[in-house]
Amino acid sequence: MRDDVKLVDEFVAGWLSRREFFIRAAALGLAAPVVSAVIGTGADASAAPAQASVPRPASFQAAGGGVLTFGAWQTPDTMDPQKTGLAATGRILANAFDPLVWRFPGDETFYPGLAESWEVSPDGLEYTFRLRQDVKFHNGEPHDANAVKYTYDRLNDPANGTLETVPRGFNRVDVVDPYTAKVVFDTPYAPYLILLAAGNWRTLPPKYAAENVEGMSLTPPGTGPFIIKEYVAGSYAVLERNPDYNWAPEAYFGRQGPALLERIDWRIIEEPGTRASTLESGETNLIEEIVPAQYETFKANPDLQIIEQATLGCPRKVHLNCTKPPTDDKLVRQAMNYAVDRRVITDVIFKTTVEPAFGPLEKLTPGYNPAVEAYYPYDPEKAKQLLDEAGWVMDGDYRKKDGQELKALFIVIAKDAFDEPAQVIQSQFKQVGINLELTSEAEPTVFNTYNRGDQNLANIFWWGADPESLYSLYHSSQIEKGFNWAHYTNPEVDRLLELGYEESDQEKRMDLYRQAQVLIMEDAPLIPVWGKKALMAGQKSMTGLHFTLNIYPLHYNTMLGG
């Protein structure tokens, strides 16, 4: 019981006189700052308050383009494009900064963006971008070759405290002429264009960025259809239509000119129940990250629509540690794959809002190989047979070999939506005689544990528009210090993933990744579980929402009906 409650209780019960009550309360008062340091927080009364009033929710009156009030699920850390990796920020930046080249989910074409054309040298070391000459940043600075050069210089200077990774093998940017920039690499980096299109290495306004550090972290001027007019940390952002915007990828959007929406009120509403309530009350007209429990309710509401979009990157999956017994045995890993019925997880836990995944990549990722879908259907008999073959025989509830029980440890990342799926996997493993022990550990501690290899099973997901993400997850150089939490080594896979950086013919390159996926599935260092999906809900009359390669909503064509 809390001390103060207990104290009041004792007093109320008549065990304490008033005098004693005050003495005890004073004692608590002295001890309390330490307690509050652990569980509570406080306010600084002396610091200057900087409260701003929240704009009134625009809600219903919006007709035609109108004002969209968007309920966002997460608080951005900073708006500085080079200092964040957070989706919360990325989703705002996607509407405020255009890429040099565009590409969209499920479409293999590159569309001109801030660069009207580009050229890759035959050795894959030089990317020459011819930039549009009419593009201006929101603060009026021209978007030119100098700006491109500045962007990489800023990233390369440790004094700037940037987080974004420099492109692998990057050497320099040459300003060929004011509107031609040449990005030069020491070693080929073939994923470069796709990653650019996914919103990495966004060009920054050189003068503004150099002079205004605080401004960059709150309202950085970009090149996109919306201007970040205001950002009140932790509360809301106002995105205003850029009236000068005239460089949309016309071939994809089917039109040119400024965005349709006049403004977006980007309100941060972290609690899912509250977010849903604002949509129902009309305080917002679009919300993101709806939870499975709300799915049916929204679907049944005639005034609302659900927007679903599959994602790129890697599905939600379990990595099997290839160096720690018993998962060091390929037969055991394969048996584990056969033992999992993904449908129970997707249909029961997630109420069919997601679909089962196959293979190490999401279906929409370029270079996805449909051949992986043949691997490891739910087949408990086959699982038992493989375990028998590996020498593990049933003895009581679980299997044994040389007196040793078939026992594996699953360290689940806490608060990562994997607790229930892990329990399902545990019970499904039990049916084939594997004893799966579940524990849970929080980020980021769990990453060190995974790299140390204490676990047999680890859960992981990864965003990424290019199949190069396989390198981070399955290349042997990433064991113990990166994200190869399967501790997986296969020299042939290593070779293919390395070649994936070098092959500049995109079709041939994708072939390398297709081969790698099959080899990986054969070795079974993973159990793919379900495909990630962006789930949003909005007013029925809303149209024109598009997505970037990272599945960030693009509001260029978004319109609210009358």
Partner: protein
């Protein structure tokens, strides 16, 4: 009085120092590499990238050196820069302080008003159904998680009745639901406290004297009884203030308000060391200050209490 004040202020120093060391150790002794967490999802993360981020976060110095460097700067009024937002910690806390103070004060007012009314009614109608009902309400209030209560308030007053907006920031109408949700727990405690305190006071001789003098019952209660009974409430206000700030974490999240609570949670989850340390140190400072104010206010309420 001034001697007492100086004594209390000096005593605050070891408290704050202890808090700073505790927080520093708690944040730094938890194993785990925030650099990896921050880089997850970036294209082609190299070992140099991990080293670079670790260095930026100041994690490559030994822990005692990190602490001394930190405290050295704090004593000069520099709480450092958030490693996530890349903005000064004091600025960030300043931005979020006002909404939290508004919320905490509103919650406290709501709680004291509800609590004193319920408690007084209970005491005056001791052992009647009115008493049982208001104590039942109080029991309900202290047992209910504020998170759940907040969502219920939203459902009833925003979605069903449409009286208040769902999210709580901006005008006063956006402050009502969060303040009630946050103050509920405290109002229940106050009600129980006022009831017992008042019952005890009502048995005192001076109340008998007051009544014997022929004073109206209203005057007896408000001037003679309640005033003495409220000293207990004032004491608990000081203690509760810290819990209100702690409770703000949950309420700010439920009602999508900005504030210190949410800032703290985000900072803790993302291991933003300088920001967490700044928030906790200032919270401790406020806590010590509020308790001092409470102690000093006793002499105003009860002239017999003096500080030497």
């Amino acid at each position: 009085m001034s001697k007492y004040l100086v004594q209390r202020l000096v005593l605050a120093i070891p408290v704050l120092l202890g808090v700073s060391i505790t927080v520093f150790l708690m944040m730094h002794l938890i194993p785990g590499d925030p650099a990896l967490a921050m880089l997850r999802g970036q294209p082609t993360v190299t070992e140099e990238d991990i080293e670079r981020v670790r260095h930026q976060m100041g994690l490559d110095d030994p822990i005692p050196v990190q602490y001394l460097k930190y405290m050295g700067r704090v004593l000069q009024g520099d709480f450092g820069e958030s490693v996530k937002a890349h903005r000064p910690v004091l600025t960030m806390i300043g931005e979020q302080a006002w909404p939290t103070i508004q919320l905490a004060v509103a919650a406290m007012v709501a709680a004291v008003v509800i609590g004193v009314v319920l408690g007084t009614i209970s005491a005056l109608r001791q052992n009647t159904w009115v008493d049982s009902l208001s104590m039942l309400v109080a029991l309900f209030g202290v047992s209910m998680p504020s998170f759940w209560f907040g969502l219920i308030l939203i459902y009833v007053f925003s979605l069903r009745l449409g009286w208040f907006p769902v999210t709580g920031q901006g005008g006063w109408e956006r402050l009502v639901l969060p303040a009630v949700a946050l103050g509920m727990d405290f109002s229940a405690i106050t009600a129980r406290l006022v009831r017992s305190s008042l019952l005890e006071v009502l048995r005192q001789d001076y109340i008998l004297t007051a009544r014997a003098k022929g004073l109206r019952e209203q005057v007896v209660i408000s001037r003679h009884a309640l005033r003495n009974a409220l000293i207990a409430v004032v004491t608990i206000i000081g203690l509760q203030f810290g819990y209100l700030l702690g409770g703000a974490v949950v309420i700010e999240t439920v009602f999508a308000r900005q504030g210190i609570g949410r800032l703290a949670i985000t900072a803790i989850l993302s291991k933003d060391f300088p920001l967490v340390q700044g928030i906790v140190l200032l919270a401790a400072l406020v806590y010590v200050g509020v308790n001092l104010l409470v102690d000093l206010s006793y002499s105003l309420l009860d002239p017999r209490i003096h500080y030497q």
